[in-house]
Each structure stands twice: as structure tokens, then as C-alpha cells.
Amino acid sequence: MSTSSEPVISDRVAESPEKLRTLLRRMMTIREFEHLGEREFRNGLIRGYYHSYAGQEAVGVGFIEAMDLTRDYIVDHYRDHGHCLAVGLDAVNIYAELFGRRAGVSKGKGGSMHMYNQEKHFLGGDGIVGGGISVATGVGLALKRMGKGGLCVCFFGDGALDTGTFHESLNMASLWDVPIVYICINNQFSMGTRLDRHSSLTQLVDRAAGYGMATEQIDGQDIGVTLAAAERIFAGVRERQRPVFIEALTYRYQGHGIHDKPHNYRTPEEEDPWIHRDPLLILGQRLIEEKIMTGEQIEAMRQEVAAELEAKVEAAKQSPAPEDRELYEDVTL
């Protein structure tokens, strides 16, 4: 494992055709989920904030696919819809949460940034940049004590490296040999502030290297890369019981929230190279090259996924709002 800032481009993993089709479908589901979610946000059905995962699918799907969710746990931050789908939560319940309905993942009381599910080992969802990093470190420490070989995966963005708690947490994780994988989804923006305008070092692995843990920068656009890296890194963490810091290079297609206007702070020209390396496109091309699917079959799959999600949106709309009495439930008064 690299401890330098040199990008490590792992070989694509040799997965079965069936697995590759499944991964494509999962990434498509996230992409289409966010499209429909954005539509419902603009329709006024979703209130507050909406942080779209579009563009970053290969990171979450690759890493979560490699997890053993019978013993591993996830602590996430606010761009969490895609990760909720990747752990296997039903889109109906995720949409219902976004609509503020009783069938929501958090019974309609959390909203977009606050999805939790004990059964799927998904411990949030966190609205505070960097707010979950220390919580994840505690989860990792608990897993170490439990001795079943479980590890914690914590997802956050590049902006979180600017918080004090990131540094405090990595220090403790290294000091205490916590089995945790910190995954910085470097989507190039801390809200509207580009990496070179918010970070003293733009190779983010260098900012984590001071804590004596292995660090690795990977291509976050190619799921073959993220999945292979995840499998190798998780095996190492389980064996060595040491934390690892990953910087996955990717790009956020939308603004920080879908209500903001990214062209205030970035140009279409700088978006272009990323859009040409779209994670769905990369895997789709591979499937075509390896003659696993045709372009037409991929498009048919996309339409099928979109139609399924439309039905999920409709099902979520059928869920009633929480009852008034639920305002005062689940809280000490």
C-alpha cells in the first residue's frame, strides 16, 4: 500500500459478466434516483436541501460492494442517498424520507441528510461537514473491541479535511489502531470553493500522511478500480487492524445542493473532462468492449431502472405523513 502521494492506479478487477451488469445497474439506479429526486425537489415535494450523488457513483458502489455488511458499518455525511441505495435500502423508503413521510428511512423525521438504518449497519447521514468522522472512529474502536473482524467505513468530502475534528480523529485512530477506512470523496469542491482555493495541499493524501497511517489516492471514476482497491484495502485493514485514508478522485455534477448555481464558481470547460470520464460511461464502454452488453441493452436497462424508480416515487407518495403525536416521540423532553 502506498504511503506517498503518488496516484496508485490499480488494475481493474476481473469480475464476472453478471457482477459487472449488477454494478452498472446499481450505479444507474443511483443516477436515475437523483434525477427523479431533483425533479421532485423542483416540484416542491422535497424541502430543505438536496445533495445529489450524481457523478460519484463508482466510489460508493465500489467500496460498499466490497464491504461485509454482516459485520462492517458505515458512517456517512450528507450526500447519502447513493450510499443508502448501495447498502440495499429500498428507494421507496429513501424517497419517503425525502418527502417527509412515515415510511421514510427515519420515519420522516431526519430528511435528506439524516438517513439511519441499524439493520443495514448504516449509521448516518450527518449534516455537519466532518461531524461523523469522530463518531465513525468510535464505531471502529467498538468493532475492534468486539473482535469479529469488522471494520468501519467513513465517507466524507474534501471540505471535511479542513475541519479540526478530521485531524483529531485520524490522530486517535492511528494511536489506538482502529480498523477504519476513511474515504475522502474528493469531488473537487468544498461547497462552492474549489480544491485549490480551500486546501493548502491539493494532494489530500499528503494532509492525512502525518498520522502514520497508510494513504492511497485512487481513480474514483472507474468502478473496476474502486472495487479492486476496496477489496485489497479492506483485507489489509482487517489483517493489520490499522486505519487507512483513501482519496478517491471524482466530480460532483450538480452544485453543492441542487439549488445552487455551479457556474458561479466553475466553468463548463472544467466540467468537460470529468463528464467524458463519467463512471457509468466507463463501465458501459467496458461492457460493450467485452461484449457483455450492447449499447441498446444498456439503454434498455436505464429505461427499466427509471421506470422502476418512477413506481417507487409513486409508492412513496402514498405513504402518509407522520402523525402529529410523533413530534414528541423519540426525544427526552
Binding site: 423525521k109 463518531v135 468510535g138 473491541r145 483529531e168 423519540d330
Partner: protein, 334 residues
């Protein structure tokens, strides 16, 4: 919560009572662990964790770096996984560094998850000007209000050694996050403590002294001041009742209402700054629910509204004084 009455008592300092509570709970439940600054090898700055490190080892008594925000977060994470962490703030003043974890995580995850997750942790530490003098402005503050303001937390503060043990044990067994505020001025003070395993409820105020003329209402360290003032008032023929709130969230007003029904007068006493403080909430509830029983305005005696000064005379002046309580009580009787 079920409570038991101990058969034997023994005199000890409040920190020893708290230490007994921690030790008994750690022996009873392997999921209970302690973490914080200098809780282990150093033996606890205010002696509360004394001996625990040598008895239970570094896995259950964890010395942390000076990273308050993140070690509170570690506590939250371990609590989510079913452990029962007792996180020590060396001084509650330092919890200001950890407010994001306390307000946004410890207090809210249960609610935000629609009840799916629980955070059974205790955040504890001393607040206010003591035990030692000269703590000054950043180490001796009484920040009770900041915690009591936040739904999702239970906020309790014992006024005596007996309660300190029983309430800390109850806090550790509670499935809700509890902020356990130890009155700094009482840390080294001696009192009777039950020797066996007993619990004191976390949500019940208690009448400490019956009286017929005026009700003195306090919490934490100010209860001792109220009791002292009541003894002085007795010499001038005034019968003062004393109510110990014990819990500030939830706030159990029933004993105060019952007492005011008899005395028709009240004085609220606290070490905290007066403006917007917990005392203001107590007064507001008296206005709402006990208004027709009151024959005089409810008065207040509080810590002075300045940062805690260093000079001995100024420091003493800044605290609520027994004479001020006596004088306020007499004023309600005019």
C-alpha cells in the same frame, strides 16, 4: 426507574461517591467504559476515576488526547454500537470545544433516526467555581443552561454525595444521553453515601427541607447555600423550605409547586449567570402554574454576570451569597 434504599451509609467526599458509582457499574456491566483526558494513568484530575485504570486497564479506562470534540464523538460512536461510555470533561468549560458533538450528535441521533438508534452515553465533569479557588474565567464557569436548553439530552446535577452516587449509576444505565454536571464546589465535600447498589431517579426534584414561609429553590451546589440560608432564617423566625431540582431536563416542578402552595413565596438560587439561565425557566413555570398561590414576586439570587475573576475577594463576590438569599427571602415576606 426502580430505586432501592441502602442499608448502610458511610461518610465520603463527592468524588469518592462518584468513583464508587463508576466502579460498581463497570463491575456490573462490561459495556461500561470511561474515556477522557487524564482519566487513566494520571488517576483523574478531580479524583473521580481514581484507581479505575489499575483495576480495569487501558481498554476500559481510556486516556484521550486533548481533542474534546472528537473524543465526545468517539463516545457517541461507541454508544451507537451498544457500549455505555462515560466521557469525562476535565472541566465542563472544555465542553464548549465539543458542542457540535453534544448538540448535533449525542442529543439528536435518536430523534433524527426516528428512534432506530440509541446513544446511551454519559458526559460528566465538574462545573462552577470549585473545588479549588482561583479557577478563573475559562475553568470555573457554570454552563448548565447550554445543556439544559437542548432537547434530546437529560441534564442532571446532584446536590449531595448520596445522590451523586445513585444518580450517576442511574445515568449510566439510562438509554438516553445524559449530561451529568458535578458541582465543582462540592467535589471534595464529605457526606453520607450508601454503601450498596442503589439508584436515585434522574427526573425527580426533591424537597430537602419543609417550611411554611418561603420556598428556596436550587440545584447542584446552590442547594447547600439554600439550606444554610434556611438555617439562618430560622433564627429570625422564618420557616424556609428548600427544593432541590436535581434534574434540569426534564424539569420536575411538582415539589416546587407543592411547597409554594404552602409558602406562597419563592426565591430561585443558582451559581449560573442570571439572564436566560435555568432559574429563568423555573420562574416562568411558577408564573404559569403557581401564579394564584404566590403572594409576592419570585426573586432570584445568582452568580454575578461577569467572567469569573481571579482575585480572591472578587471571586467570592461573584458567587451567590447566603446573605443575599436571606435578604431576598425576607423581601418576599414584606
Amino acid at each position: 426507574m426502580a430505586t432501592t434504599t441502602p442499608t448502610k451509609t458511610k461518610k465520603m467526599a463527592m468524588h469518592e461517591a462518584l468513583n464508587q458509582a463508576l466502579r460498581e457499574e463497570m463491575l456490573r456491566d462490561p459495556q461500561v467504559l470511561v474515556l477522557g483526558e487524564e482519566v487513566g494513568l494520571y488517576n483523574g484530575v478531580h479524583y473521580v476515576t481514581r484507581g479505575l485504570y489499575s483495576e480495569f486497564g487501558p481498554e476500559r479506562v481510556m486516556d484521550t488526547p486533548i481533542s474534546e470534540e472528537s473524543f465526545v464523538g468517539v463516545g457517541v460512536g461507541m454508544a451507537l454500537m451498544g457500549y455505555r461510555p462515560v466521557v469525562e470533561m476535565m472541566r465542563m468549560d472544555f465542553s464548549l470545544r465539543a458542542m457540535d458533538q453534544i448538540y448535533n450528535h449525542m442529543a439528536k441521533i435518536h430523534y433524527m433516526s426516528g428512534g432506530d438508534l440509541k446513544v446511551p452515553m454519559v458526559l460528566r465533569g465538574p462545573e462552577g467555581p470549585g473545588p479549588n479557588p482561583g479557577l478563573t474565567a475559562q475553568h470555573g464557569q457554570q454552563l448548565t443552561l447550554l445543556f439544559a436548553h437542548c432537547p434530546g439530552l437529560r441534564v442532571v446535577t446532584p446536590s449531595n454525595q448520596y445522590d451523586a452516587k445513585g444518580m450517576l449509576k442511574a445515568a449510566i444505565r439510562c438509554d438516553d444521553p445524559v449530561v451529568f454536571l458535578e458541582p465543582g464546589p462540592l467535589n471534595n465535600k464529605q457526606g453520607d453515601v450508601g454503601e450498596d447498589d442503589y439508584l436515585v431517579p434522574l427526573d425527580q426534584a426533591e424537597i430537602r427541607r419543609e417550611g411554611t414561609d418561603v420556598t428556596l429553590i436550587g440545584y447542584g451546589a446552590s442547594v447547600a447555600l439554600c439550606l444554610q440560608a434556611a438555617r439562618e432564617l430560622e433564627r429570625s423566625g422564618v420557616s424556609a423550605a428548600v427544593v432541590d431540582m436535581r434534574s434540569l431536563r426534564p424539569l420536575d416542578m411538582a415539589p416546587a409547586y407543592a411547597s409554594v402552595e404552602r409558602t406562597n413565596r419563592a426565591v430561585v438560587v443558582e451559581y449560573a449567570w442570571q439572564s436566560y439561565g435555568p432559574g429563568a425557566e423555573i420562574v416562568a413555570r411558577l408564573m404559569r402554574d403557581a401564579f394564584w398561590n404566590l403572594e409576592a414576586p419570585v426573586l432570584r439570587v445568582s452568580g454575578k454576570e461577569t467572567p469569573l475573576p481571579y482575585a480572591a475577594n472578587l471571586e467570592e463576590l461573584s458567587k451567590p451569597q447566603v446573605e443575599e438569599i436571606v435578604s431576598a427571602a425576607q423581601q418576599t415576606l414584606k
